[in-house]
Amino acid sequence: MVTILSIKLKNRSGLHARPASVFVRKCKAFKSIIKVQKGDKVADAKNILQVLSLGADCGDEILIEINGEDEKIAAEEIKKLVEEELPEIDK
């Protein structure tokens, strides 16, 4: 099975260094293979250089594809992180 999340980035600075670092660390905590897609670019969610290369900015739609034994819990936590915790960092 594969779980796919479609999320709009709401935090002011998108996935740049600071939020990207929080995001990558979260993804690294799971065993699943996790990919992030923005437009036609795909990145390994556990590699910060690739995540930064997406240039995912505030207001952009991203797709997150999670594949592995812990994908359900991973999907839940990543969704919460991007939608709730990252916008908190702005403040």
Binding site: R12, G14, H16, A17, S21, L49, L52, S53, L54, D57
Partner: protein, 579 residues
Amino acid sequence: MPVFKGIIASQGVSIAPLIRYIVKTVEDLDITYCEFSTREEIRLDVALEKYIELLSEIKKKAPESERELLEAYELMAQSLVDEAKDIVRSENICSELAVKRVYLKYRDSFRESGSSLIALREADLRSIASSLIKYLMGYTEGGGILDIRDKIIIAEDVTPTDMIKFAKEGVKGVVTLKGGVTSHAAIIARSNDIPYIIIPEIRLDDIKDGEIAVLDALDGLLVVKPGESELEKYMAKLTRFEELKSIIRRNAFIKATTLDNYIVDVLCNIRDLEEARVASSSGCDGVGLFRIEFLYMMKEKAPSEDVLYNTFIKVAEFFRDKVVVIRAPDLGADKPLPYLILKEDNPFLGLRGIRLLLEYREEIFKPFLRAFLRALRVYENLRLLLPMVTTTREVRETVELLNTLIGELRLDNKMLSSIKIGIMVETPAAALMIDKLVETGLIKFVSYGTNDLTQYTLAVDRGNVRVSYLYDELDPALLRLLEISVSKALEKGIEVEVCGEMASKIPAIPVLLGLGIRGLSVNPTQVGLVKYVISKLSVNSVKKELLSRVLSSSNNEESRRSIREYMVSIGLEELKPWL
């Protein structure tokens, strides 16, 4: 006494000798071949370990807000080393080249990503890769040959690690050619009170080590080899700034109110998304002028409707419930475009601003207006400002065009009357005809662009050193023109703002308030100071005791003297260095 103008990244004033800071980066590594050994992966691990050690050393001294960034650096270094190992294994090349290759790969993909903030990360990546290479080649961080204590550093660019080192070693100020106000080096400079400005035009070759300079990171100036009187002036400014610093900081987040309870909006001028992001947390009441020319210049073609739309909604989102004034691009004159060659003998009096937009409406104006309308449908805080208006026909044609586009986009046709359209007054013609321009209907506000208005009124090109001494926003000619114009605009019951540099100049503030201006759009770093000055003034007192004196002065020296005397008479000696 050369004077350079730059962008303020960290406020302050300092007077000290200059020293050039030249560092080798990964880009300077010019080997194309090197011996591969079986120990490459171990070498990479050791370099990474040393780098992480350096980061934890820095973390101890870095402000709280920077810790997460340093963690991001650690992740970046790890990913970089992981990929370098793959290359070492598959291609049998040495670690230095592998690191450089990974660096180049991501540098290019960061550039292509098109986000201004990600582009800054290119500098971070360069700094990480450079450190790794230094460790691989057996050098230690920094080198430490330069004596930088009590000096003003001038460099191509500096990394956050450099900046932390500067703070530790007691550097007095920093000037760079590259960089941005949201760079981490800038944040570190701010939290360590190191004055820092970015001057793209300066050349390192023009600077000699040891030359005395004034770094005025309050007005964004570097004065090299100042004369005695200049030096004295800046000494005083330095002392005052130290005294006022904390008051200015506190004031940035308070609504500006005069002693007699007039509320003044202090807005920000911004020129790209990066500045917008900084400005959104600077305490300003919104954006009074969003210059979008950066989207048009240095590009192969004009930006698409979608690029414009995305930019507008981003800025609108940063400010949410606060006003954001987007100025239609003011192209032409001193802003040449590769895709639009205008051969004119006198470009400042030629096809520029609204004239150019209406002439090239298909290519430039329509995509802009369509993007604006689409963004306005989502964010009601957006406003539209028209540059270089001189005739009522230009306003009418723009409104007609908006009406057509509303139809094309199938938007509600009641939308037209809800658009907040403003006129930028930059010419004496617009200043004098403001009532008639407003009568065209739909004009909700006026913004005085005092830089061009001063140039056109006084017939002075401020960039021309032979006549720039004649350029002064406090020349009574300009003040008289403003008086006539602002009172006409206020009679029509519309909002009146000033968005030129005049709005951030301390001596101009009492005069502008006295004339009836209630909106000042300033550089983000000036918000606290401008609000503080407003809080010390009384509009009624200015009207009674200053305005007529200034308006009846015979020249700018006289008007400035009157202002200075007035400010001192109401107890504002502390602001003398700015007067």
